[in-house]
Amino acid sequence: MTDSVMPKWADVALVPFINLALALFVSGIVVALIGKDPFEALYILVNGSVGSAYGWGYTLFYTTNFIFTGLGVAVAFHARLFNIGGEGQAALGGLGVALVLLYVPWPHWTIAMLAASVGAAFFGAAWAAIPAYLQATRGSHIVITTIMFNFIASALMVYLLSRVLLVPGAGGSPETARFAEAVHLPSAYEIAPWLGFSRSTPLNVSFFLAIAACIFVWLLIWRTRLGYEIRAFGHSEPAALYAGISPTRITMVSMLLSGGLIGLMAVNAVMGEAERLVIDPVQGAGFVGIAVALMGRSHPVGVFLAALLFGALYQGGGELTFEVNGMTREIILVIQALVILFTGALDNMVRSPIENLFATTRRRPASPEPTTPLEPGGHPERGKAEP
């Protein structure tokens, strides 16, 4: 953006940090207004999320979900496509996981995980395909179509879970049978008990899949021709056309990638945690992914950090409702909203003053030499020639 004025560290660290602090401050006011102690709340929030191995187990579990949805939204963002359909795509990803795991007797979790990932990504991508196609060929606004596909997905899921995939006689809970023991993903407790995770920790090997997805997205976006084209298309469609980049192809490909990544969330949530498909396995992670991508500036490192933040908010928020009597769980929504608002929409409120601060502190040393233009790419030798 304005990289000429502000050092990079201020851009990627200082401004988001101040934004976050503001969001928490306002959240604190809300907490105080409903008659609770904001400092205690903050303590529980932090301690509950990152104060113990137990907390970390949950925080990183949520983080894993948000990494997938955040990366998915980010890839679409790079092509300047706003994918609000994460909820539906992740739900369909869950369906993919379930189908793969229920109908094939996998011998070992490793192959099962591979197959489930393919299933999740395929189904997630498929659910993104129609809105993508309509956007690319008919110009139907992708924001609206992906929202609609969220609704359609939930209808489809209810239908399948209550009519088709239901286990007969199992008591009527709209969920599939449990997956076989053989496809159980090793949890953090099983992998690294010495780190102090409890047996119940939902954190599982999918976390590494999420890290791999970060690296994959980074390589894809910044190191491959496809990524180069996606970014170019996102920056300027006319330029993309000029360079021989097909808008239809990029729209399709980036939405399929987006949906696929989002679908992968189900490997963590459905295969790793629930070990069966339940109604609404996504639990809002698709929407959180939007915030994560925005906060993370659509960069995998940023997405990772933002996902961690939201993961901690989720877990810490949960602890908050456990620990503080009368604290409704919706307080998490409020905090989330404020974080999105301050880091996303009100970014300039903090950024502009800080930019000005840097601008003035930088200009000052230049002032003894007023004739030197600061215009980059100017003609310095002429600047010197003048008195």
Binding site: V30, F82, I144, Y159, T328, E330, L333, A337
Partner: protein
Amino acid sequence: MDFLGIIQILDSALRLATPLLFACLAGLFSERAGIFDIGLEGKILASAFLSAAFAFYTGNVWLGLLAGIVASLMLSAIHGLASITFRGNQLISGVAINFLASGITVVVGEAWFGLGGRTPSLMGGARFAEITLPFADAIRGMPVIGPIYSDLLSGHSILVYFGLLCVPLTWWVLYRTRFGLRLRAVGENPAAVDTAGVSVVGLRYAAVMICGVLCGFAGAYLATALSAGFVKEMSAGRGFIALAALIFAKWRPWYALGATFLFGLLDAFGNRYQSLDLFGVDIPTQFMQALPYILTVVILAGFVGRAIPPRAGGKPYVKER
């Protein structure tokens, strides 16, 4: 389907379309001025909550309505601040507002009423009553006209009539007044408005605030006319449907009436015919429930094609880079 059945479905469609209509016109004002608003949903929800809460406390639905409008306006102000003053991303701001409304209504509701985010049920003067139009009873017996007037048109809450009135009103404001001309201009080319000596910021705030007022009506209608109190998340996606309707309506007032009524109709139809038996194939309920959304996609893909939004829409007005 018999005539009376049609009347009843239309009657239901009218009720269901009204909140959509308010929200759609709200979005129309905002987007015509160049400010995208996917936060309609949140504003409806906030208004529904506060209107119900105040109607309960005061026992007066009009005060409730006022409070609902205030709630919606506060969110509008946030949206304006983010997208006009600080030139932030309008979509992000909208997403945040939706989250905020879902959260804050329950948090505050729980603090006030301790009913898990519900408000107590509203009684009597705390709700909008149904209005019987003059002579409705007298001519009910007449064929065709009778049911249309007495059953379809009569017997709605005053907000339904006001909503319908808002359509020509919006049209008139947009196309017949100075304010409307400027509003449309600022959504197409804010620089033209600016150089003509009119404040872009002022116009856009005005539009966003009108949007807030109309969303306030939508929410109050949900909580105090259609139902008798607030239940969490009671907006149930209507803000998003209104947005779809707005695109379908190509940002025009009369079309907005048509589009929202169509969605109301789809909904009413889906309510009435939840399980269809088509040529021996049992169409599952879920399909009928998804039908309005599927049709929206079909409509967007097929009939509307490229709906051209106001040209400056979604972009903050930046003079100096």
